[in-house]
Subunit: 671 residues, 2 copies
């Protein structure tokens, strides 16, 4: 009779094991990550699994709860004292007695992997850089006068196979008291970021300590977003966001860099501000989750290069002009206390690498999250901010650049523009026959022509147009024939509609007159054309580098991408022609990438390698960029057909675009 | 024609190299340590060598300055600008053109090895944990947007073969400015403590930085001694000592432990005090050497277990009672800033391992310095303080213990005792015929019966007897027949000499009546007997463990050992019988060991391995210790013959020692 076959789900890893082997041991041997803090003593409850019952024909296994040992005394004690959900077993106690299909549960309390029901539907295996290890340490012995710390090391070597353990100096003086408080049983937090790197004792608690958290944080120019995650279960315990307080020093990146250049203590002030905000968010997520700051042992931070530098206390001035030299581009690792993050005193921090001077750790994190390099189709990943960060690639090759879109997409430089906030127009439709608009504002459910709008709107007012509204209104104006493909507002329509009004030598489209007057001017159209041309030219440049004339799939990362309708973005020519079903908003992909790097240290190596291999394109150095930019001024584009878009949307007939209307040089501009 | 043969002295390493190979490259290939900061650019001058001229028959080499290339432009420029001593060459520029005997000079300015003209006459090869590495870093390039730090890493990998370099976080924000200040040429200090361990950039200077210092420090209960050493040449730039300010909290170790137990902030106060004293010494050695604190990049500290703990900020209470548990026994490494040592912010610290609860890092350092385990003869290494730390061994096996000698050897618990200071009697001779003493006091050149004594003595007075004086006077009393081998002062001699005076039920030997009355009482003799019995019993226990009846050589480490006469120590029976020529005082062997660990990281591994292998004997647990102690009360000893001593000194005839005179149990006493 051969040894029983055991199949672990969802990883699909399988192997044969002698009867009597614990399920935990089998998982370890197969490299299936099953958490365990107590080291098999049936006290931490972190190693729970479920047996799937039935005949799994595909795998040629008949699995049954009869094929696992009955609960022993220790497991029954755990169930009695701590409770065990129905069907759950402690894998450190349950032994293999026949063929088994074992499920490593993905639930919020105990799981080994985080399932992200997102664009990619990928499963993230966990392998955090921090592990909690419970040990029972030998008592002092005059015959073998090893120190307390040294006997702790012996125990960690014996039970957890850590061969050469460093220790944070701050703990050296505490080991003595903690060992005695725990009656020689303690839980050590071990930081080990790479298989061939050092392992360090970074925290120590008396007795069994059964929780450890990490924070994943995306520091944006406008907002800072943070997740608090259990490193032991992968569960997101709390999430919070806050405005980046650096906004008071300057709205956009370049104005913050200028602030540093003009104020001797400007860098320090902004560093202090962002760190305070991060600490505020730590307070917030801890309060929400009922967690202790001292249980936070790891953190991953991402941000664009200027945010990255200011957060780390590095002068960003060099990023303000060519050659846009990063002070540090590679991943960085250090202690949270070194940047004033109040967590466990031994907590570690990891910062993802930056790709280039304008393509930051946030873009690297989004790349890690969406993984163009992990699949074969040509994926375009775009994160639109003041600079658009653009990544294009597949498993064979990945290229990246940034393009100076300026702040128009964020509502700046637009006459009626504003940040996305209640009262801002976010969606717009224009009737091609009457040229009348209908719209929706943030914070109000009904559209402007639906019942109840006036009442609901009264509370917030209509205050302006946010980025997604601007995309839709200008795309709508184009589809309604109000503006030509070269972006000129057709003044002759003033005869047909009171919405078209003269405004000096050009015309405007009047959206609303009740309350603050909101109109789209010829200048507004030009600003959006410039912004979208910069983005499209960047995309096109990368497509040239890749030698492709179309992309298979498009991912919009970031807040901007979450609100715009892909159809209008494509009508406007922000993005290249593509099957609209393949254009997806992926939300805070940078935050997701940070989370991945937090939960699995292998993802750190993965993105470090990927960033090294990404070909970095500097648009300012590319002779073709100017022409691509000029071509991209047209709606949707002068040079490229949009056959896939045209098959889904009725586009106005194409006309020639006058060269003189291109809006001048923009390639060198950085905002 | 075969390749030229090159022999390096003093290491004796040799090999054949193609003509045109630089001498530095040949040294590297043979593993001969020749310093170089500039990496072969002929600017730092650290790689100087000399060619020995002549026919070296033993090595079959005819060496000549004609066999080395003439000075090239770079070397001539260095000579012109910086100067080059006659006969010296820069090994990075001079190439091998024929057979050579190359001397790596040992002088104070530029050398590769430190010769210690001491007991062992050993040569310490240098291989410090800190290296200075000059590099020229690529300027920023938009086509390859690596960060400043990352290009620095590339340069250090390219020129110095550091593959994966960490960096102290505090430097991350400074790299940018330092690279620009140095016009892309910088010197990095790299800390790498073990071949298979991490390498870290700990300091960075613009341009060529051509000096790095380390401190070696022995923290004694009474005094703290420090050397400032150039890590680039091995030269001791300055040495200084200071009283340990913890004395104000308690004279001896146990009283300091008691102070901690009785005062809530006692530990902190003593930690602050000793660190302040160490910082004071750093100031002193820097001032003496004209060195900058920021050039101090490494430090090695040793001390007995209580000093070790207090210096590191660890509560020493556990060391005050069985099982005498050390908080940490293994070697420790951390940053100097973590213990408040004001050196370069990136400076590192290494603390040698402790051997056992009463055998500290100072004993480990003395063991490293004297190296019983490096030779075949049975070496006894004794460091006498309040506890005697005793190591006995050879290459095959080493054992160690401590023995509670108490403070009698330091002049405490002795009626006329005092610390070694001007006015203290340090040497004594007693005429066997007249029983009259002659003596010498510290600070006065003539003996008491020599011309000029009275005048010279008047300035200081005769204030008491120090440790070495006590040894000599009691040994002298024994040799003169004043005390029996069982330690009883013979009252019948009062009839013969006014020096023997009645003192209640016992007698005293009156040494001096002018000024303060100084006498040796029966209690004083008993106190010394107890102390010496503890020491001898410890030695004897280790000899039993080794299965030897005699030792080949004896090393007295520490201040006490430096002043006593081995003959009288042996007459008294402090140490076992041995050829007196083989008994040597080795001074501050602990400080020497610290120096070795500072200059060569391999010595750190050596002593860590040695300490692991040393068999630790706890006298309190040894059933034989009591009997050995009782036997050792006699002068020189009840159980052992001293044939080698007897052949060099006329000892009184032996008598039986009454068991009842043994002085009671002492084994458990710890001071």
């Amino acid at each position: 009779m051969s040894d029983p076959l055991v199949l672990f789900m969802p990883s699909g890893k399988r192997g044969r094991f002698a009867r009597g082997t614990t399920v935990l041991e089998a998982a370890r041997q197969l490299g299936v990550y099953v958490e365990s803090v107590c080291g098999g003593r049936a006290t931490c409850g972190r190693c729970q699994i479920e047996v799937q019952e039935g005949h799994f024909a595909k795998h040629k296994i008949v699995s049954s709860n009869d094929h696992i040992s009955p609960k022993g005394a220790k497991e029954e004690r755990y169930e009695r004292v701590r409770g065990l959900p129905a069907g759950r077993r402690l894998s450190c106690s349950a032994t293999i007695e026949g063929d088994l299909v074992v499920d490593v549960p993905q639930d919020v309390v105990i799981n080994a992997q985080v399932v992200r029901k997102k664009a990619s539907d990928r499963v993230i295996a966990r392998n955090p850089a921090i592990r909690l290890c419970y040990v029972e340490v030998d008592e002092p012995d005059m015959h073998a006068p090893l120190g307390d710390l040294d006997r702790l090391r012996v125990a960690l070597q014996r039970d957890w196979r850590y061969d050469r353990l460093d220790i944070d100096f701050a703990l050296v003086g505490q080991v003595q008291a903690i060992l005695r408080a725990g009656k020689w049983a303690v839980t050590a937090a071990i930081h080990k970021d790479r298989d061939d790197g050092p392992a360090t004792i970074v925290a120590l608690w008396p007795g069994l300590h059964n929780e450890a958290f990490g924070i994943a944080c995306d520091i944006g120019s406008t907002t800072i977003a943070m997740h608090l995650v259990s490193l032991l279960s992968g569960r997101i315990a709390a999430s919070a966001g806050a405005q980046n307080p650096q906004i008071r020093f300057g709205e956009d990146l370049m104005s913050r860099v200028s602030y540093v250049m003009m104020n001797p203590d400007g860098r320090e002030a902004m560093t202090v501000a962002v760190r305070q905000a991060v600490n505020g968010l730590v307070d917030k997520v801890c309060a929400e989750a009922g967690a202790e700051r001292t249980d936070i042992l790891d953190g991953v931070f991402v941000g664009n290069p200027v945010m990255h530098h200011l957060f780390l206390g590095i002068d960003p001035t060099e990023l303000g002009g060519a050659p846009f030299a990063l002070a540090a581009s590679g991943a960085l690792a250090f202690k949270a206390s070194e940047i004033g993050i109040a967590a466990n005193p031994g907590a570690r921090v990891y910062v993802l690498p930056c790709i280039a001077g304008h393509v930051g750790a946030d873009a690297a994190a989004a790349t890690l999250s969406e993984g163009p390099y992990r699949q074969d189709r040509m994926m375009l990943l775009v994160d639109v901010g003041t600079n658009a960060e653009i990544v294009l690639g597949n498993a064979a090759r990945t290229v990246a650049c940034s393009s100076p879109t300026g702040p128009a997409f964020e509502g700046a430089e637009i006459s009626g523009g504003q940040r996305a906030a209640p009262g801002a127009i976010e969606r717009v439709r224009i009737d091609p026959a009457t040229l009348e608009p209908r719209f929706r504002i943030i914070g109000v459910e009904p559209w402007s022509d639906e019942p109840g709008f006036a009442e609901a709107m009264a509370a917030v007012g209509v205050t302006g147009i946010c980025g997604s509204g601007i995309i839709e209104i200008i795309a709508g104006m184009y589809l309604a024939g109000i503006i030509s493909e070269d972006g000129v507002i057709d003044g002759s329509l003033a005869a047909r509609s009171p919405r078209i009004v003269e405004n000096g030598r050009t015309f405007s489209y009047l959206l609303r007159e009740d309350g603050p007057r909101i109109a789209v001017t010829q200048n507004d159209v030009r600003a959006i054309q410039l912004a979208k041309a910069a983005l499209y030219a960047g995309v096109k440049l990368l497509m040239q580098k890749q030698g492709v004339s179309e992309v298979d799939t498009i991912r919009f990362a970031g807040a901007f991408g979450s609100f715009i309708d892909p159809k209008y973005a494509m009508v406007l020519g922000l993005i290249p022609d593509c099957d609209l079903a393949e254009v997806k908003a992926v939300g805070n992909a940078a935050g997701d990438g940070a989370l991945m790097a937090l939960l699995n240290r292998d993802h750190r190596r993965e993105i470090e390698d990927t960033v090294r291999r990404i070909e970095k394109i500097e648009t300012a150095l590319e002779p073709d960029f100017q022409q691509l930019f000029v071509n991209a001024m047209a709606l949707p584009n002068k040079a490229d057909p949009f056959p896939k878009l045209a098959s889904q949307v009725t586009l106005p007939p194409r006309k020639a675009l006058a060269e003189g209307e291109s809006g001048g040089r923009r390639g060198g501009r950085r905002r």
